[in-house]
């Protein structure tokens, strides 16, 4: 599975092997606890939020709500974009 991270992260793209179908929350927990990806840690700890608003997630081209990550199952050829909140300028 490919995960794209927003600007400000050392790695902008993480590729992980999923193997069996697992939930997106499990992916987040793995990235947070095992790979220690700071931004994902923050996302998990704060339920998808930060001081500037909600993180925005796009899985395979569709927007998803952080509240649903427990019930969304992913596989190796999935692609997830994580965006920091942005309000424009």
């Amino acid at each position: 599975m490919v995960i794209h991270l927003p600007p400000g992260n050392e790695k902008r793209k993480i590729i992980i092997s999923i193997g069996n179908k697992i939930s997106l929350l499990q992916v987040f927990t793995y990235l947070s606890n095992v790979q220690e990806v700071e931004i994902v840690k923050e996302i998990v700890e704060n339920s998808g939020r930060c001081i500037e608003g909600n993180y925005y997630f796009i899985l395979n081209g569709s927007a998803i709500d952080f509240k649903t990550v427990k019930t969304i199952f992913v596989k190796d050829d999935d692609e997830l974009y994580i965006f920091s909140p942005f309000v424009g300028g």
């Binding site: 909600n54 942005f86 424009g88 300028g89």
Partner: protein
């Protein structure tokens, strides 16, 4: 008069008269500065139905009581007039150094009426104003003009000017400053051009009088420490607004292929024109006057067909509109196009939006190669866009057709192309899609200057944050419409007052909102509260609206382009099948402002806000 110099300059170019005036304390208190003060003056002094490019229109340069003070980002100046682009109230603001310099030169504001019979510029040197011949400047671009005026009057002067687009009365031209800052929107460069006013040059060392400067400095320190605690703040300092070009494209917040396509599918290279890919070209950081954020940058493209020696960093809007909206994934081309707009004096949003319209017309057979002077208008072809911009600035061939924006072009090309002209009342929409942040739609439609992204208000809540420190009585959900318009009015009114003090949107998004009346109290010695800000903002909003109503405009029926609110909806991507309920939000907004269903302020509301002089 603390916080203000206490003087404004009235200029009549027809008679060549310059007259100082001391506004009353009441006027400063009731309208602050920025577009608040301008709305008060211009409503009274521009006669109804005045020609935007005629002598009766008045061009205002206003600062604000926090400009030139320790308040964070207190550096903005606002340009206002009746807009030739929309026929409505027009205002646009700009950072850099001109705002503080105008006050240091002795004036809080300048109001220019009449038209000169030959090119002139206004030179103000510490309280002494004079009109000077600008024959030697006419025809130069904005950057060349600034350089030449600084050579003549000293490097310590500051310049607001127009480029060739303003001289040639392009309705999408702006007022430029410091080689790449722009009061770009509403076509105010054309108003300046119509007056043959090439530039305003200011210099001086006067201090802004403040009741308690030490307190203002202390507040600056406290608030800076607070915002620095947010780790995202350092990211914004690093990137500025380009941090979210790709994010906005992939989420479809930003328009793709003239608002008709899905970013993640049709513009997968958005990362090539975003954040780190842009920073590669930064040669040094740029900060506006005393700004601790310093989100700007100076850029250079060393060689190749889009080489630029020294240019300002393209902002998010420019990258989105010239990038994903035209499918241009070459960041060097975007840096070049940005610099061209800065030099010619074009608003990058409207210029790119209009070009997107032209490309779609060409693609679908409404413009022929003969009509485009042999140019093949294709998505993603940056070289053709360079050529088009040049032609637009000079009003040559197809450029003349496009120089006044997409609505005017549509009137000539044909009503059947209306769908491709993504504008409200003539003003091209900026790179934020109301389907992503529905309250953009409200403000694009109902604000007195339609189609403006800087009227951000409730969108900050829709993304899960809010105006820092300002809690609303109920949570705001992105796609739940009930009560949204009412809150959109409330938040916007508070921000109208904040903006009218002369501070920057990027600080408003980060500094606790209660800090702004505190700054103002320290500077002026008055006793403002957030409630008072809301009332002042309501007064400003109502007066701007009254300006439009008096013009006879059908304000409630300003038409939003279907693509911007999901009519029809996108068939794929993150915003698939979304159509926003614009009608409910707009109606509730009017209710929140206490305007009637037609958008007309009620007599009771006018009285309550002290606007008895407004006869509707």
């Amino acid at each position: 008069m603390s916080g203000n110099i206490g003087k404004v300059l009235n200029v009549d170019l027809y008679y060549g008269l310059l007259k100082e005036e001391k506004p009353s304390q009441e006027e400063y208190n009731n309208y602050l500065g920025g577009y608040g003060l301008a709305a008060h003056r211009l409503f009274k002094e521009i006669p109804p139905k005045a020609e935007p490019l005629g002598p009766k229109n008045i061009l205002a340069f206003t600062t604000g009581p926090l400009v030139g003070t320790p308040a964070i980002t207190g550096c903005r100046f606002t340009v206002s007039a009746k807009s030739p682009l929309t026929g409505t109230w027009g205002d646009s603001n700009c950072g850099g150094f001109f705002g503080p310099a105008l006050k240091q030169a002795g004036y809080d504001a300048i109001f220019v009426k009449g038209c000169a019979d030959k090119p002139i510029y206004l030179y103000i040197n510490e309280g002494k104003a004079e009109l000077k011949d600008a024959g030697f400047l006419w025809g130069l671009d904005a950057t060349e003009t600034e350089n030449m005026l600084k050579e003549k009057h000293g490097k310590d002067c500051q310049v607001a000017t127009i480029g060739q687009a303003g001289e040639n009365l392009s309705f999408i031209s702006g007022v430029m400053h410091d080689g790449g800052r722009a009061a770009g929107r509403s076509g105010l460069g054309a108003v300046m051009g119509s007056k043959k006013l090439k530039a305003v040059v200011v210099r001086g060392k006067l201090s802004v009088p403040m009741t308690n400067e030490e307190e203002a400095k202390k507040l600056r320190q406290i608030n800076l420490e607070q915002i620095k605690e947010n780790p995202k703040f350092q990211l914004f300092q690093k990137y500025g607004s380009i941090d979210h070009v790709a994010s906005s494209c992939f989420s479809n917040d930003s328009p793709v292929k003239n608002w008709a396509a899905v970013g993640i599918d049709e513009f997968p290279n958005a990362t090539k024109i975003s954040d780190d890919a842009i920073l590669v070209y930064e040669t040094k950081k740029y900060a506006c006057w005393h700004c601790p954020i310093a989100c700007g940058g100076i850029y250079s493209v060393k060689d190749g067909k889009f080489a630029v020696e020294e240019a300002h960093k393209p902002e998010y809007e420019t990258c989105g509109m010239f990038g994903n909206n035209l499918l241009i994934d070459d960041i060097e081309a975007i840096i070049k196009l940005n610099d061209m707009c800065n030099r010619f004096g074009f608003d990058t949003i409207s210029a790119a939006g209009t070009i997107a319209y032209a490309i779609e017309c060409y693609e679908k057979g409404y413009l022929t190669k003969e009509e485009t002077n042999g140019l093949e208008l294709r998505w993603g072809d940056a070289e053709v866009v360079v050529k088009l911009l040049e032609m637009m600035a000079k009003r040559e061939g197809i450029g003349d057709l496009l120089a006044d924006g997409s609505l005017k072009a549509m009137h000539k090309i044909g009503k059947e192309t209306e769908e491709f002209a993504v504008q409200v009342q003539g003003q091209e929409l900026p790179a934020h899609d109301p389907k992503f942040g529905p309250s953009w739609g409200t403000y694009y439609k109902v604000d007195a200057t339609p189609g403006r992204h800087t009227q951000i208000g409730l969108v900050m809540y829709e993304i899960g944050a809010g105006v820092p420190g300002l809690t609303l009585p109920e949570p705001i959900e992105r796609y739940r419409y009930k009560n949204k318009g009412t809150y959109a009015a409330k938040v916007q009114n508070i921000l109208h007052a904040v903006y009218s003090t002369g501070v920057c949107l990027f600080a408003v998004q980060r500094v606790n909102v209660y800090a702004w009346p505190e700054f103002l109290n320290a500077v002026t010695g008055e006793n403002y509260s957030i409630d008072e800000f809301e009332k002042i903002g309501a007064r400003i909003a109502t007066l701007r609206q009254a300006f439009n109503v008096r013009e006879g405009l059908d304000v409630a029926n300003f038409k939003m382009p279907g693509r911007a609110y999901g009519n029809p909806p996108l068939t794929g991507g993150p915003l698939k099948d979304i159509t926003i309920d614009l009608d409910t939000m707009a109606k509730e907004y009017y209710g929140g402002q206490q305007w009637d269903k037609s958008g007309k302020p009620t007599t009771e509301r006018l009285k309550k806000l002290g606007l008895d002089f407004v006869v509707m």
